[in-house]
Each structure stands twice: as C-alpha cells, then as structure tokens.
Amino acid sequence: MVKVAVVGASGFTGGELLRILLTHRNVELEIATSRTNAGEYLHTVHPNLRGLTMLRFEIPNIDRLTKCDVVFLSTPAKVSSELTPKLLESGIRVIDLSPDFRLKNPDEYRRWYNWSHPYPKLLEEAVYGLPELYRDRIRSARLIACPGCMATAAILGLAPLAKEKLIQGDYLVVDVKIGSSGAGLSRSLSSHHSERANVVRPYAPAGHRHVAEIEQELGKLGNPVKVGFSAHAVDMVRGILATCHVYPTRSLDIKDLWKIYRGFYRGEPFIRFVRDRKGLFRYPDPKAVVGSNFCDIGFEIDEHTGRIVVLSAIDNLVKGAAGSAVQCMNIMFGFDETEALRIPSLHPV
C-alpha cells in the first residue's frame, strides 16, 4: 500500500484530501499535519470524518514525512517552496496544492506574487497538475504543481478553443462567480456571515493572480491570449462558475463546437458536457457538481454578436483542488485514475 501524508490538513482543502484519501483502496493515510491542531483527532476539525479514522493531527516533521511515498502540500503561498526541495532530495514524490511551482517563468512570480522564487530550476521540473492536459508527464513526475481553482475552471473551459486557435487573444473575458470556501479559513470582516451572505461582491474586478496560469496554459495550446479576468464572491459555500466570453477568429456553428469539445476531451472521466434542451440544469451550475470531481462544461453561440459563451462549473475544493490532486496521484502510482473519485455530487444541496 502506498503511504500518504497531508501537510496542512486542517484547512478546507486539507479536509477534502483526507475525505477522499480515507476511501482510497490503494493508499494508507499515515500522517495529517497541523500546527494549530496538533494532538487533536481529525474529526475535531472535520466533523464529516468522525467515525472514519482515529488518526490525530501532528506537527510537520521532515523525518516522519520522508518515510511516506507521497506528500500532499496543502499550504499557503511561500511555504511549500521551503519544504519541497528537502522532500524531493529524500526521494519521495510531492503534490503541491499551493501556487509555489505553478508558473514556469520566475519573472511572472515577481509580477503576480511580488516574490522572487527561491528555486527557479525546480519550476522547469514541476508538472502542472491538470490530468486532462498533462496525463503522460504526470505519470513520471516527482513534483506536481496543482492549478488554482479558478484557473482550473477557466482552462478546462477554454482549452479546446485555444487548441483550435479560435480565441481572439485581445478580447477574451473570464467572469468568475465563486463561493466562500474559495477564501479558505482566513477569517475577516468580509467572511463574517452577516456581511458575507446575500452578496455579489466584486473582489477582483480587474485581474487576479490566476490570470498568469490561465495565460500560460492557453498560450501553450494555441496563440497567446490576454485574459480580462473579473472575480465575484457570491452566496454559495462551494463552487465556481466561470463564464468565458470568446470572440472567435472564425465563425462556426454549434455542431462544430460539439465536435471540438468531444474531440479534445474524448475519454476523460471527469469532464461532462451540459447543454441540454430538457430538465432544470440545462447549463453548467456549481450546484450540480458540489462534492464531486466533475467539471461541467457548456457553450452557446450568440448569433447577435458572434460571441461564443463557454460555461465551466466545478467544486473549487474538489476538481479545483483536492480531487485533481488525488487524480494526479492515481496517475503517478498507476492506480485506476478514478479510484476514490467516483463520488456523485449531492442533489439537492
């Protein structure tokens, strides 16, 4: 059995890693670290895990971690970049959910994170943790850099169009709606329930760090693009809907779109297309994916303006974080890629 450790296991994303890993038939969850909750049972912080494990949180310790086969780093920015080199030296594999190794170009870290990267060489080696784009490279990778949650939604929605060079690079708008769990456990007046409920709060109207990843990945697939990104906090706990407004380089009809998307994502276990004439959920809606590893993608052609609207819905904690991370682990260790991830979402929620 593969031995697994989760560093930063008391956050929402950490909790999702625990929830998924505890049901995984090929791994043994050895270590779950948390400085603030060391000594506590996991269910003290994660009530959904009560009765599923008697494991307790512990302080992160390199020697104990390096006895595992793989370590998930669910840590804030600029933490994993200290830990990762030591872990890699000991020969174990690292799946980093933080932003520290996502970008290839160190200058982009200076620009978007105001940070000069301490290990630029590792940026080459790190593999971007999106199975739908990098399955082969993930298989043999030592270091995985899992994408940002909003980047995941936008990239998965737009990748097929980027590959066909269908996106006018100067007029691409990505308008994101995200739930409160996207901000994790960091408490502030803005996360205070009476102030957070019932909002449609533009919190990053003119750009966000995730733009760097989206442009990096779409640029590799097709022509370079500049993403006009706006994020809004809405009244939802889990979930992201990215509404992508694309002005195409050539006109095409709805059949072409179906062909392009089916072709690009043929055989993908966690991509679903939602453009349905029937039922209530005719386009992607986070409500339909909450708790699951699915990314629902829908599209429409606006005859009036020639615009293509692509809609992409995920659970920011699952496909946007812990789910994709475990999916990468399954690929790295040759398990069934869907192991522990065939979780139906809850409906209604």
Binding site: G148, C149, M150, I178, G182, A183, G184, S186, S188, S190, S191, Y203, A204, A233, N316
Partner: protein
C-alpha cells in the same frame, strides 16, 4: 475649505484649523492624505499608502 483629491479629483472637506501631519480621507475614493504646508504656506496633501485587503483565494 475644499481641496481637490489628487487621486480622483473629488472635493475633500478639510477643517479650517487643520494641523500639518493630520490625515484626511477623501469621501469619494477613500484615499488618505497627510496634510503638510507647501512652500508658499498653502495646504497640500501627500498620499498615505493603504495596505490592500487580501481577499483570500
């Protein structure tokens, strides 16, 4: 008296008896300025850096 906001051109109400070093916020754009006396004795405003709130992910 009213002084033009350097950031957004709005009118900032400044008390007549304002003392150099006092901080005055702009009612329109929320920018904050430190009051100081210009070379000709007139009241001038110097921007005070406000740390942007981190909105999390």
């Amino acid at each position: 008296m009213q002084i033009k906001c350097p950031e957004c051109d709005g009118d900032i109400p400044v008390p007549e008896d304002v003392v150099p070093g006092e901080i005055v916020p702009c009612p329109d754009c929320g920018s904050e300025f430190e009051v100081y006396l210009g070379s000709d004795g007139s009241i001038e405003l110097k921007p005070v850096e406000i740390e942007g709130e981190d909105w999390g992910e």
